[in-house]
Amino acid sequence: MADVTITRTGLPAEAGQVSSLQRLMRRKSTIAFIMTLPLLLVIFTLVAYPAFYSLHLATLNKSMVRFVGLGNFEFLFGRETFWLVVYQSCLFAVTAVIFKAIIGFTVAHFVHNIPSKGQRKWRGMLLVPWVIPPAMSTLAWLWLFDPSYSAFNWLLAHVGVAPVSWTGNTHWARFSVILVNIWVGAPFFMIMYLAALKSVPEQLYEASEIDGANWWQRIWYITLPMMRNIISITALFSLIVTFANFDIVRVLTGGGPLDSTHLFATWAFRVGIESGDIPLGACVSLFMVPILAVAATLILRDIGKRGNEA
């Protein structure tokens, strides 16, 4: 559009016109290029390059002097802990995302139900877990789960239930990390779904009511289909973030007991940074790529669809 803006005034001849147009095309894209250059720099040196570099790293031996091909992968496949991590990562991500989605949708629905002047207040309160840095809030959970002074166990004792070893027992530890993840992430779903709920035209509900739909049919035939896109974008996005989670497990259990709550990220940290085997750590973290790639592709597709709808 604005290609014409940058030329000098009044070039007379038609012959001069072509070359001057070309020149200013160049100049406009030059300006645009300079404006995007810092972004490109960040993306290429700090995201794209390391991402590909980790592929290379994964093929080296521990001291990073020798090429071992797929040796690290072979080594991982032979270790029981690795399969434990695969299992736990999938269990953690899938369970947490499903519960976050259900809780988020339910809470969003309740908030949407109440008179709109009170909605702001409730929404404000319910989003607090998402606002607190997760490393900080997980500390509070750690204290709530404390083996000797657990405030939960104190409550349980009052109703006659034996104390629970929240982070000490494999099953309870898995339950705990998932619970904390749900606590952190459900408000995000709530906010997204609330925004989506608000975008469903009221007339559709009125029309369905005249057609005789009950509240459940309204949700099933109107709300859910209208929100399908946001629901899937949010869930996929959350799947990525949950699958790649680090903070919660690191602070709450440190991967224990007996490596049973490790995720790819925390185990990669343990192996790569703390035990100093960088190639093996890179190798572990690379196992996140397939799931991330699938989720990212689906998100892009859904976002593209949104564009078409608009």
Partner: protein, 303 residues
């Protein structure tokens, strides 16, 4: 609403009206009941943090009701805020976050303007690339970055390890893609006629950006700034991996590595430190909630 009732004729009408109102009242009560339950669940940890932060160590290890403070004290707060280490963490976090926010916003506003308005070869592809970059988690990158730092040291002699300012280089990878993405969305929603009017009025590209786009997209800029700040403030993995000396740590790592000494958990201080560490994002959220939420939802709704 009442159309269904109208159809059923006069005698039942009054009764139906009444039952609809009653249904609504019950639905409302049910909503408030469940909302209260969820609010308790969502607010319990921060409230418990606050309760604990007001307790003495003696009370914490006492057999009394943990959900109540019998002898409230500000000792934990005073001790932390007079302690050099905690203040250093706070300063490091503040410096890193403020600088990262500034850098991120500069980079992303310019890039978003170019991508949204100055269509050039590959601009749509690049916009998609920006979004994809946002989806790459830091947990995938910290190991190669760890190694790259050693390479930089070997090549240039600059030590990136164990320096708080290294975070200023690393954090933009977490903030810039998303900020650019939502700014593209905000800029794209500005009608094209507005920049054409500015063009005819005699504005250059830069003037169009500074005098028209930035003021008009201010809500988006505030939302992106808040996002960049909260992400920088909360980041845990990078500083945990790349800093070790006490004077180089930022808050989240500092609290966890220095207040937890071996098996000795000084819970009063940990909770105080965590609560104070959570305060800046919470305060921003309290005052700018609408922008915060706009930023959250922008990723999916502005695309």
């Amino acid at each position: 609403m009442a159309d269904t009732a109208l159809a059923t004729g006069a005698p039942t009408r009054a009764l139906k009206y009444g039952s609809i109102a009653k249904d609504r009242r019950w639905a409302l009560r049910l909503s408030y009941f469940f909302l209260t339950l969820f609010a308790i669940f969502f607010l319990m940890p921060p409230i418990y943090m606050f309760i604990t932060s007001l307790k003495t160590s003696a009370e914490i290890s006492a057999e009394t009701n943990p959900w109540w403070v019998f002898n409230p004290t500000l000792a934990n707060y005073i001790e932390l805020l007079t302690q050099d280490t905690y203040l250093i963490f706070f300063r490091n976090s503040a410096m890193v976050s403020v600088i990262v926010v500034t850098i991120s916003m500069l980079i992303s506003v310019f890039a978003a303007f170019a991508l949204a308005r100055m269509r050039f070869w590959g601009s749509t592809l690049l916009a998609t690339g920006v979004f994809l970059t946002y989806l790459i988690p830091e947990t995938l990158l910290f190991i190669p970055l760890f190694k790259m730092m050693a390479m930089v040291r070997d090549a240039t002699g600059i030590e990136l390890m164990n320096n708080w300012w290294t975070m200023i280089i690393l954090y933009p990878t977490l903030t810039v893609p998303f900020c650019t993405w939502i700014m593209i969305g905000y800029f794209a929603s500005i009608p094209k006629e507005l920049d054409e009017a500015a063009l005819i009025d005699g504005a250059t590209w830069i003037q169009t950006l500074t005098k028209i786009f930035i003021p008009v997209a201010l809500p988006g800029i505030i939302a992106a700034t808040i996002f960049a700040f909260t992400v920088s403030w909360a980041q845990f993995l990078y500083p945990l991996a790349f800093t070790t000396s006490t004077d180089q740590l930022v808050l989240p790592v500092g609290i966890i590595t220095t207040l937890i000494k071996g098996d000795v958990f000084n819970w009063g201080q940990i909770m105080t430190g965590a609560l104070l560490g959570a305060a800046p994002p919470l305060i921003i959220y309290a005052f700018l909630m609408d922008y915060y939420i706009a930023g959250l939802t922008a990723g999916a709704t502005k695309g």
